[in-house]
Structures are given as structure tokens and as C-alpha cells.
């Protein structure tokens, strides 16, 4: 039974960006307000899941040609690298650095290596959730 999903597909196109930006916001704001890599990652993947529901897996794979297994690996490596980097500077494992910079366009902002670690978490969460949903969804 093939039905015409115009409304849901159209809504999904818009809502996807809303959820995605919200997830990025939650991810970036994690250090000061509730949120962080984990929830951000989950929200991003839920945005993708919305697309999967509205279209189908193959279309979504066409739109977002991402190998989620690699994404997981990259995320893990990023987290590990962030954690291991201070060891080369003679500091203990998992020392974070932060400082305030005057960035063009954004003004005075703090940059924190914990953010890099959190991006690792974010990538892993997106990668794993999407891997699970994709494999189960494709399974006959």
C-alpha cells in the first residue's frame, strides 16, 4: 500500500533542520546549561530517524552519505586523542586546557579542550544509534 506522504515529508524537511540546530545548540551549550554531547548526539540521530521515517533508508543514505561505523571510530579516536594529548606535554592523562579568546564575529568566547572530547562523544552517539537503527531497519 503506497500512500502519498506529502505532508509528512514536507514537515520532516523543515523539522529536521529545527531538531538538528537544536541538537547543535544543546551540544554547544552543554558546558554551561543542561545538555552536552550525549543528548546532542541523540537528538541529531533522532532528526535523522525522522527523515528515515518520512522517506526510507536508501533515500536517507543518499542524502547523507555517511558511514556511521567510521563515524563511531572517528569519535572514539577524537575522544582518546583529546585525552591523551596532554601526556605529550608532560601533564597527566585527561588534563583539559581552556582560555578566552576574542574571536571575529563572535566576540569574547572561551575555548575549551573539553569541547573536543564532547565532540567525540557526540560523534560516537550519533554513529552508534544510527548503526543500530540502520542495521535493524535493513534486516529482513
Amino acid at each position: 500500500m503506497k500512500t502519498n506522504d506529502v505532508i509528512i515529508q514536507f514537515t520532516a524537511k523543515i523539522v529536521f533542520f529545527i531538531i538538528f540546530f537544536f541538537s547543535i545548540h544543546i551540544f554547544l551549550a552543554g558546558h554551561y546549561t543542561p545538555g552536552g554531547g550525549f543528548v546532542g548526539g541523540l537528538l541529531t540521530s533522532s532528526a535523522i530517524v525522522l527523515l528515515v521515517l518520512a522517506f526510507d533508508i536508501n533515500t536517507v543514505r543518499h542524502i547523507l552519505p555517511i558511514n556511521y561505523t567510521y563515524l563511531t571510530a572517528i569519535g572514539l579516536l577524537l575522544a582518546l586523542a583529546t585525552a591523551a594529548f596532554p601526556m605529550f606535554m608532560g601533564k597527566p592523562f585527561f588534563t583539559h586546557y581552556f582560555n578566552y579568546f576574542d574571536l571575529p564575529l563572535l566576540g569574547k568566547q572561551s575555548l575549551h579542550t573539553a569541547m573536543l572530547f564532547d565532540s567525540g562523544v557526540y560523534l560516537v552517539v550519533v554513529g552508534v544509534t544510527m548503526t543500530i537503527i540502520q542495521t535493524i531497519g535493513e534486516d529482513e
Binding site: 552543554g30 558546558h31 545538555g35 575522544a79 552517539v125 548503526t131 535493524i136
Partner: protein, 793 residues
Amino acid sequence: MLAAILVPFLYRSIKNIHTGWFVLAVPATLVVIYASYITQVAKGEIFTGELPWIPSLDISIVSYLDGLSLLFSLLITGIGSLVVLYSIFYLDKHKEKLHNFYVYLLLFMSAMLGVVQSDHLITLYFFWELTSISSFLLIGYWYNRDASRFGALKSMMITVGGGLMMLGGFVLLYLMGGTYSIRELIVMAPNLVDQPLFTWSLVLILLGAFTKSAQFPFYIWLPDAMEAPTPVSAYLHSATMVKAGIYLVARFTPIFAASELWVWLVTGVGILTLFWGSFFAVKQTDLKGILAFSTVSQLGLIMSLLGASAVAFHSNDSIDTIKFAAFAAIFHLINHATFKGSLFMIAGIIDHETGTRDIRKLGGLMSIMPISFTVAAIGSLSMAGLPPFNGFLSKEMFLTAMLSLQKFELFGFDTWGTLFPIVAWVASIFTFIYSFYFVFRTFNGNYKPEKLPHKPHEAPIGMLISPILLAVLVVLIFFIPNFIGDTFVKPAVQAIQPFLYDTPQDIDIHVVAWHGINPELLMTIGIIIIGVLLFVALPNWQGMYQRLPKAFTLNNAYDKIMQGLDVGLNRLSRIYMTGSMRHYLLYMFSGIVVIVIGSLVVKNAFSLSFQDTAPIRPYEIILVIVLLIGTAITVLAKSRLTAIIGLGSVGYTVALFFVIFNAPDLALTQLVIETISVALFLLAFYHLPKLGKREERMRFQLNRAVISIAVGVMVTLVALSAHSQKLIPSISKYYEETVYSLAGGGNIVNVILVDYRGFDTLFEITVLGIAGMAILAMIKLRMNRKEKSHENK
């Protein structure tokens, strides 16, 4: 030991020459080396060497060469050389796997030398087990025969079982004495007697010695070990391995002799074994069977003499004759090694030349194999204790020692002591009978060529060299007993009884062949007369053995025990290892409940205090009620769908709890995760197989209800008690104060996750990654397998 590694290469590379010739060089060289120590050791000198092994645990390989060790070392290497020489002619170089044989044999030889020269308890045990293992390999040499494997397994079970007991005894000795060195333990022996562990260690070490030396009731492995090649039987089961227990008893006599139990156990078990072995030897029809039982009985004789020698520690002035015991034990040990070795070799020759060892098929070989007959006759007569052979001398000393036991008032020997010489005397009669039985049934009587697989003829000269040499020794020792006594026996006796003698020269024992008419001689004459009479009448009463019920034999008991253990343990594991996960969960939960509640009760840790509890707000009550309803729905649901939805409602309620308890991060995460897991549950539910998909209510089972309630009560109790007894203030203050200054953040939860304790997060995302990969692998691989099975069809 090193030579053992080389043997296979020699076997492979040099096919034409029998590998045994190369092997022969090893024990022969060792004999020469050990012989060079004889004169010094005879004067009472002692040689030691040390090689640290695990210094931090105080374990090292300490070699210790005194009279006793030297005597055993010479026996091992000397008889070893003769056995290797004999095996060169006994084993065919084309048909047999010679490299295996000689590797095992050399391994055994080095292990045995290690046993007798170790001063260190742990290395002694190490070599002891090495002898068990190499003997196991040698017995099972013809591994394609069932009987060989059975015999090997049986000997392994019994000797290793005893070895483990012995290890226990050693450890107890170490705990008491604080040292592993036997020498130091001997020095402090008087202090050990009163220790509570002393008796245990004594019994355990004796168990080790008795199993190895085939004493009653552990002798049963020895007759079955006769499936080994004859050189092995001659070497291991007459001259060396079975004497390891004797050595152990002799070595530990100075430590344990002060105990009454030791004297009674060693003497009593020895004399019982002597009688038992000699009694059942007459029953056997297999030549090696007779020899095996005779070995058992002779070992019992030596053991009882060692037990008697321990009496000398208690009365160093009164009676001189008891000092004979240790001397007689060692002397008989040498004699037994010589005549039993030669007899085994003769049995092997007969087997080799006629094709059978069954005494009922043999007979009349005297004129066909005259040399073998002579050697066998010398060996047997010596075993029977007749002059002019060495067995006579040691038998006389044995009777002397047994007779003198009853003169002791210690330990109740004055009442029960009379029993010893009587039993010994009866056993000697049986010894006499089976010795005659062995030699005359084989070589005398009617020649029955039709029953023999081969046409018999005299053995090649190479095979005869070793038994002839041993037989010559048998006669020689009778004529020069004092040379042997002075050079070998006295240093050994001094090692057994170090408190009595300072040097070997102090031992004033002079062996004479003719010592006048005394009770011992009369007893010997009695043995000969009754023995001859009974031997002649043997066909009339041998049938009595058949009447003995088979169910009461020790072999049967062994088989029953092994079988019972096998079946019983199987049954036991089948009872509790049902394979059902529910049962295992029941075990685990009840175990946890018992342990936790038990420790709460034992430590009296129940405590309830509501002092610092927060006030209960109305919406908390509402949420709790919702939660309870959700839980009840989940548990009592009739269909799976209801249960899943109930579970989801529980999850969302928990998220709400996080909200009202001010945990926005947790609430966010809980919401999303709950959604995903409910989706996954639904997915799993959708994929359930059609078959047996009856939507059925969960069956109620009382034990499960009881256990789950118990678990719930336990968790509640622990939570309440833990809350009421906060001993340490929380560390969260620190986080609150430093979150901005040190970590540059505002969200404490997130900062803890990525900064303070980022390590946990790192591994949690790793766990996530692994879970994702595992799901991927499970689903993809299953598909692959399906495809493959389709291809196969």
C-alpha cells in the same frame, strides 16, 4: 636430563645403531661419578650443592649427598645402566618407538636422582611428581593396548593422589619448622613433636610414601603396572620408583621417629603388606604378576624394618639388636634390587623367547634355557631367603629385628609385639612358596611345546648380561657382606639414625653368615620345611584362592570408587546444572539475598533514621503512585504489548522524577533513551516467531515470588541502612566551588562527565561503540550464515 632432549635426534638421524647404546653412556658415566664419592661418604662426609630457583620464596634446588642418597643414586644409575643394556636387546629397533622409550626412561632416571638427592621439600616434591608422570608414560608405553592405559591411569591416580597428600604434609612441616630444608628440620626435630600439626603432617607424608611404595592398601596399582615393557618393570617397579617411598620414610625417620604413631603405622602397615603380598603372590598365574606381588611384599618387609628402626630412637641403651633394623632395611633394599631386577629380566626373557608369561603354559624349560634357569634359581632362592645367597642374610636380620620388637615395653610392644614375628614368619613361608612356584613351574615339569606361541631357545647373550651380572652380585654379597655393609649400608644407617651415631664407623654391626644356632635359624629351618611341604601340596590347596569372593578385593573397591565418583558427580552436576537460565538466576538471587542479609545480621548493621530526610512533596506522592501503577501493569500484564507500554510509562515517570529532583541532563537523556528502548522493545516484540506465540499470562510460581520479594526487601534494607549511616560527607561541595574556576564551565553534570571524571565517559562511549558493532556483527553475520546454509542445500 639433558641427554633426554638429545635422544629423539639421535633416533632420527642414526637409524642403524640401536638408540640404546647412546643412552647407555649416560647412566654409566653417572655410576662412575657417584662411585668416586664412595670412599669419602663412607667416612661420613657429606656433599652439598645449591642452585637457587625462586629465591624470593626461599625455594632452591639443594642437592645433598650423604650415605642414604649415595646408596640410592648408585642403585638408580647402576641398575639403570643394566636395564638400558637389557632393553637394547629386548626392544626391537625397527618395531618400537625407541626415542619415546629412552626419553621417558632418562626423564625418570633424572627425576629419581632428584628425589633422592633433594634436601629441599619443594624440589623433592617436584621430582617426586616427575617420577609419577614419567612412570605413567612408561607404563602406557604400548598405548594402543587397553590394559596399558588402564594400568597407567590407575598408577597415576594413586601415586599422584599420594603425592598431593605428601605435599600437604610438607607444607605443614614448613609451617612448623619454618624451613624447607630437611637437614635443618632434622636438627629441630625434638621441638616439632609437640606441635599440633605434627600428627597431620606425619600421616600425610606417610600416605605419600605408602602410595608410592605400593603398601597396603595402595599396592593395587603395582600389579596393573606390569603392562609396561619388562625393562620398565624391572627398573621402576622393582628397583627404583617403588623405593622412593622407602627412601622417604628413611629420610624422615629422624624427624618423625619420636612419635608412637609413626612406629606403629610404618611397622604395622609394612608387616601387613608383607603378609598380604606374599599370600596373594601364590595365586598369580602371570610371571610378572607373581613378581609384582612379591615386590609388594618385600617392600612391606623393608618398610616394617624401617618402622622397627624408629624404635631405636626411644631406647638408645637397652637393646642392641633393634639397631639391626635400620641396617637390615638398607641391606635388604640392596639385595632386593639385585635379585628382583634379575628376576624381572628373566621373566622378560621367557616372555621374549616363548611368547607367553602364563605360568600354566610354561614348564620344562630347564634344559632349553639353562643360563636363564640358573639366574632365575639364584634370584628365587635369594628371595626365599636361602643360603648361600644375600637374601638369607637380610632375612635373618629381619627375623632378629622382629623378634627383638617384643622385648620392648614401649608403645605396648610387650603385649602385641609377639604378633610381629609370627606374621613375619608365616609371610616368609609364603615367600618361600611363591619363590619356588616361580622358578620350578617355569623351568621344571613337563615341556609343553604345543602351548607355546614360539619355539623356545636360549636368549641372546646381550640380553643375559644384565641378569647374570645381578645374579653374580647376589652370590657375591653373601660372601662379602661386610664390604657392602661398611661402604654402603653404614653411611646410610647413619643418615637414618643421626642421633645414635656420629660417624658410620661407630656402628658396630658385623654381618656373619653363620651366627650360631639361635631362634632365627630355627625359624628359617621351619620356613624351609613347611615351605617345601606346602609347595609339594600346592595343587591341592591353590584352588582356595578361587573361592575368595571377588567383591571383597581391593581392586574391586578401587573400580567401584572410581565408577561411583564418575557416576555420582555426573548425577550431582546434572541435578543443579539444568541448563535453564531461570534456575541459575534463582541460585544467584538467593545467594545474594543470603549473603547480604546474612552479613547485615552478623554485623548488626540495620539502622533506620529519618533525621536528615527531606519533606515529602505532593507531586512526589503522585509520581510514586504512577510509578507503582506502571510497575504493576508491567508485572501483571496479560500481553507483552501491555508490559512494554507499562515499562515505557515507568521510564517516563523516572524522567519526571529527574525533573522534579533538579536533574535536567538526566531527564533529557532518560526521555530520549526511554523512547529508543521502547522502540527497540517493540521491534523485538514484532519479530517474535509465530510458533508458540500464545499471549499468555505469566505463570505464578511461589518460589520465584518469594525470592523476588526477598531481593526487594534486601535492597530496601540496604538502601535505608546506607542512608541512615552516612559516615563520610559528600564531596560534591568541591565540585560546586571549583566548577567555574578550575574547569571553566557552568553545568556541573557535564563538567564532571567530560572533565573531572572524563575517564568514565571515555569508556562508556567505548561501551556504546562496542554495543553498536556487536549488533551490526550479529545481524550481518546471521544473514551470512543463512545465505551459506542456503548454498549448502
